[in-house]
Structures are given as C-alpha cells and as structure tokens.
Symmetry: none
Subunit: 132 residues, 4 copies
Amino acid sequence: MTDISLNEARQVLQAAHEAALEAQTKMNIAVVDAGGNLKAFTRMDGAWLGSIDIAVKKARTARYFDMPTGDLGTLSQPGEPLFNIEVSNGGLITFPGGIPLLKDGVVVGAIGVSGSTVEDDHSVASAGAAAL
Amino acid sequence: MTDISLNEARQVLQAAHEAALEAQTKMNIAVVDAGGNLKAFTRMDGAWLGSIDIAVKKARTARYFDMPTGDLGTLSQPGEPLFNIEVSNGGLITFPGGIPLLKDGVVVGAIGVSGSTVEDDHSVASAGAAAL
Amino acid sequence: MTDISLNEARQVLQAAHEAALEAQTKMNIAVVDAGGNLKAFTRMDGAWLGSIDIAVKKARTARYFDMPTGDLGTLSQPGEPLFNIEVSNGGLITFPGGIPLLKDGVVVGAIGVSGSTVEDDHSVASAGAAAL
Amino acid sequence: MTDISLNEARQVLQAAHEAALEAQTKMNIAVVDAGGNLKAFTRMDGAWLGSIDIAVKKARTARYFDMPTGDLGTLSQPGEPLFNIEVSNGGLITFPGGIPLLKDGVVVGAIGVSGSTVEDDHSVASAGAAAL
C-alpha cells in the first residue's frame, strides 16, 4: 500500500490553509494516511472547537470508503440505501468536506475540513487535495 | 443453544468469498455465532476499510433480531415504528447485507457483508447463508 | 507502505490454528494489516468469548508499536516507564500473544492470539508469524 | 483566557520536530490549546501508529493538570495518592512526554510527544516548549 509522506501531508495542509484564508473562513484541517490514521492537523485561530472531531472524522470517512464524504451522504438519507451508516466506525461524517488524496491514481490518504458551510468546507478540502 | 461450528463458518465465508469474486467485488465478510459474537472474518485485498465495522455490525444486527438487516431498515425510517434503532447496541446497521444463518430451522448465527452496493452485499451474503 | 495480502493473512491464520490444535488449546486468532485494521479472524470452537476482543487488541497493539505485546508489558508495570499505557488507543493489551508480522524486514501487519495461558498464546502467535 | 495562536503552535511543533530529527527519533507531536483541545499535530514518517493517541493524550493531560505528565505519574503509582487516575477523562497518559506551554507565566496550552523512550519524548517536548 502506497502511503502519504509527511512532506506531502504538509503541502496538502498548506494549500487548504491558504484557500481557507482566501475564503475568509476559519477551518480545522486534518490529513489521514492510507490506513486511516491521523498524519497532520491544524486548527486556525478562532475555528469552531466542535469541528476538530468533525474534520478528523471527515478525513477518515473519505479514506474508509475512497469517496468524497458528500457522495456518501446522498446515500445515507432516509429512504436511501445507506440510511444511518453514520453510527458505524465510531462515528462517520457524511456531509461534504472530506476528500480522498490520490497519488498516481492510488488513494494514499484523505483530507477533512470543517469550520464553515459545507460548500466552503468542500472547496477548501478540494484545494488541499489538488496540491498532491 | 445450537451454535455454528468453525467449520460451518468457514464454509459460509468460502461460499460468500467465491460469490464476491464472481461478482467482481471486494468484500468484508463477517460471521457471528448464536450469541452474536464474532466467529470468523475475512477482508479481501483492496476492500473498503470502513466496511470492516459495517460487515461485523450487519452480522450482529441480523442475529440480534433474527431477520435480514434490510427488513429492519424499512422499520427504522422516519415515521416508522423503529426510527433510529441504529443508535442502540453500540451501533446497528439496518441496510441490506446481513442475514441470519439457519440450521435445521434454528438460527445459529449470521453473516454480514459490506464492500459494494447493498444489492451486491445482500447477494453475496445470501450465497454465504445458502452454504449452511 | 507494504501491506499484507489476504492470502498471506490466511497462511498466518492456518499456521497458528495448527499450532493451537497441536497444543490442545482453543484460540481466538486475529490478523491486522499495516494500518492496524482487521484483515482476518477465526475463533476455534469453545474458545473464550472474552478473548475475541483481546486477540484483536493484541494484534493491533503489536502493530501500533512494532514489538511483541509482552515486551510492552514489561514497560507498563507499576514503577516502569510506560505505566498504564493500556488506557490509550481505545484499550491496549500488553501481555504476550501479539507479534508483528514481517516481510523482507518490513512490518506488514501483526497477529494476536488469545485463549489459553500467555505462554501458549505467545507460542501460537509465533507459529503464525513464522509462516510469513 | 489567554490562548496559544496557530503561529505559536507551529513554532512549538517545528522546534520539537527539529529536536526529534537531531535525536534520530520518529515522533508524533501534538499541541493543545488552553482549553485542552487539539490545535496542531504532526506524525513523522515511520513513527509508531499507537503514539498518535498517546501524544494527544500527553498534551491534554499536561494541560488538564498544568504539570509535566511525568510528575503526575509519580502520584498515580500503586499506594500513591492518585492511583489509577489514568482511567479518567477518556484516558490520561502519566509518563513523561507531556509539558505545559507557558507565555508570560500563564499556561496557554501543552505539548505531547510520543515515539521513542520516555526520556527522548520528554526531551523533544521540552525543546518544543522552549520555543514559546
């Protein structure tokens, strides 16, 4: 299994951080490795405390199913195929803001962002993912 | 209490594994015994990490209520009798992929499968259950 | 990160199982991958139910610190450097029975065995580890 | 409440990281704020997976009691006043490697380091704390 390096995780964090500043948001940003374990994390000054856990869970969720968290969320609504999947794995977050990190087409980890609207969260996470 | 033996659990796992290969899916497959405790588990290479816990929870859910997980899921929707039952028992999974295992008409355990669509998951679980 | 394959995990399980039969013990045997996530598990008929979680935690502990669990246990005694490390990581098991799995000198996972004396557990885990 | 800023947390992380490199160790390094909540985290390539949680718990423990974790550890031994305090707060770590972070004599957070001997962990944490 190919894994993300700390240098790569930092590039991802840095790109996400810059995107958050540009969008004038205060974000929690987490990066997990290929095994779903925390690799790097940063919380901007004034960012929501409740978003620490959400950022980490978004990153883990994105890696656990190798898809953006928002995609999983459309499937977990009432009446949809994966209703209440969120109770598994110690808690999943299935709204946007978590995105797999790919290197040469292989998933090597994931980024999770939380602290603003889910649109902002997803946009900042995308900026981070694009840095790899 | 009549219980599943390890040999039987292995037959169930093997049949499910073969069905998963035939369907070209990558599955996590769990078998629990009559007490709802893990008996055997296998994760195919490249299968989702988040499906480890879901496969185990599907198997446990199917044994806890002696019905396919999908049947429970129709009852746990908003407005239905068992709304949000998923938060009990340390987390239940109520979408398809968990099926009780019967021997001479008695439930001796359950199988849980996770890694693809719920239709595939259910189909692979059924193949496993049929092996007993 | 090099990871263990399902075929390799099965060889490890099989070798441990045979060693357990030879020692006339009833074991729970778990194999985790390089990320510490469950890969394969088997519980022999009549093995302790309480050893399911212990076998999994032993495997995870061995991978989390890349050393046999018993080595960690000598360091976690009262007055020793790592006293009560067991409360971390959702629960660690630091008595013998967990051993890292190496391939070409690289840790690719770990095996955890529980169901008898810690000497037996360690011996069976060693037989499993030697199969890789 | 005077709190640590992200810039300050980064200085602490950076100083600890450099000390870890100099000591040829592979560390998990966590910084929490005045509220005991995670502010920044980094895991060096190849560092123990089990040390992620321990680094965070060391930082939190140091801030929860405003003392180095090792000091608390002498009080939590069998027969001592705080025996088994480790089971509180979701798990405390009371061996060396966690140190409060002070600014103008006020505790504004804490650093936790895990990945080597407790002497190395404490030394690297001290280098981080000195950067503030």
